[in-house]
Symmetry: C2
Subunit: 233 residues, 2 copies
């Protein structure tokens, strides 16, 4: 995903890249004010000060704007996590830091998140996180979570280690869903949810070694793979 | 909820009740054909052979039709479970039977479920399962799950026993969400999901007694209560 972004940025050159970012900023602001549905590409082009035809060059549709938003959110998370994770090898600390940083990065977009969520919740929508169109960001997110896990000192059964990034991606979706609806000041409760749930995840993972849970663990991992892979087929 | 339905049925009398059921059947069929958004109350009234004003007497809005559908689904589940659960005291068997029966009852409505789901997924919609308007069916479902648990021989810590119905209601929502998107013949995979997940639930509950999990168990139960109660506030 980052690779893709850099390629796009390189081909557009820095001026093109700035224009692209400005159109995205303007679009997010209009989505927040008027809702995703009611905002048109024409409104976005006008507010960004570019010709309508030119805006289509950068974003062929509103869906592409949402995908660009996903890409930006992922790139900002990776960037913000750089350095933060160094020196932390405990899985609990690493998960907690990543998920808290996820919320930090999202914070400026809380106002627009409701209308984007309503669009993304439609399973037919290309901006649904499970859709084919969302595949690149979904895979980039899962790969990033795999790196976060790989840097920890947690010893996990092989089948758990290989599917855990998919499970954590589902968890991250659930967290963002909670955050979208969180009306506490600065979404404080979402941060509490991160602390409690990352704790629970690590404690449950410690039980994965219990021999009596082996079969059910395998079945649950199977379902996680199925759920996440479904959209990518 | 059942009480409410009976009250409504009684006040309408049997002819009124039949008309109400016919309008609901016709509406579900039109939703399936044209989608929820594109279907109007006028189309429903015409297809049901009642005057538009008369249809508003039974259902003041399309949302009321969806709520009536929820009520019907709940009543049919309770009815279908009558007898089936007798003699089963193992929690695993009881949960499995209820959730499989939930899928059996839903089966005729698979075709219409997609459009209803897309409407219900919008958190602002009165037919969202967490909404105030959905409160009566939500509470009836949770009470029913409480009865299902009460009839089992499972020994659960008090805090788990009191919140488990809410957690199972969230689980049931997730199951229905999976079923809506399940394209396997007769939604066979949803039944497999029931078998595996009810097994996992019962195994995890057996771990709830572990002393090392007490604090995290309490925190997780707190979040479940919060999630389910939120909509009812």
């Amino acid at each position: 995903m980052l690779g893709m972004m850099s390629a796009v940025a390189a081909s557009l050159g820095s001026k093109g890249e700035r224009t692209r970012e400005r159109i995205l900023d303007v679009a997010l602001d209009l989505f927040r004010q008027h809702g995703y549905e009611a905002t048109t590409m024409r409104m976005i082009a006008t507010a960004a000060g570019v010709a309508l035809g030119n805006s289509y060059y950068y974003f062929p549709s509103k869906d592409h704007l949402v995908q660009a938003f996903y890409e930006r959110m992922h790139a900002e998370l990776v960037e913000a996590c750089r350095g933060i994770l160094d020196g932390h090898v405990a899985l609990r600390a690493r998960l907690r830091l990543v998920m808290r940083t996820r919320l930090d990065v999202l914070r400026p977009y809380h106002g627009v998140s409701g209308t984007l969520f309503r669009t993304a919740a439609d399973p037919r929508s290309p901006v649904n996180p499970f859709s084919d169109a969302s595949g690149p960001t979904r895979r980039a997110s899962i790969d990033f979570l795999r790196d976060v896990l790989a840097g920890s000192n947690a010893r996990l059964p092989r089948d758990v280690a290989s599917t855990l990034p998919h499970l954590l991606w589902l968890y991250e979706l659930g967290l963002v869903l909670f955050w979208v609806h969180d009306r506490s000041p600065q979404q404080r409760r979402s941060y509490e949810l991160v602390d409690d749930t990352t704790d629970a995840i690590v404690r449950l993972l410690a039980l994965a070694h219990l021999p009596g849970l082996r079969r059910i663990r395998q079945r649950m991992l199977h379902w996680v793979s199925t759920l996440v892979a479904e959209g990518a087929q």
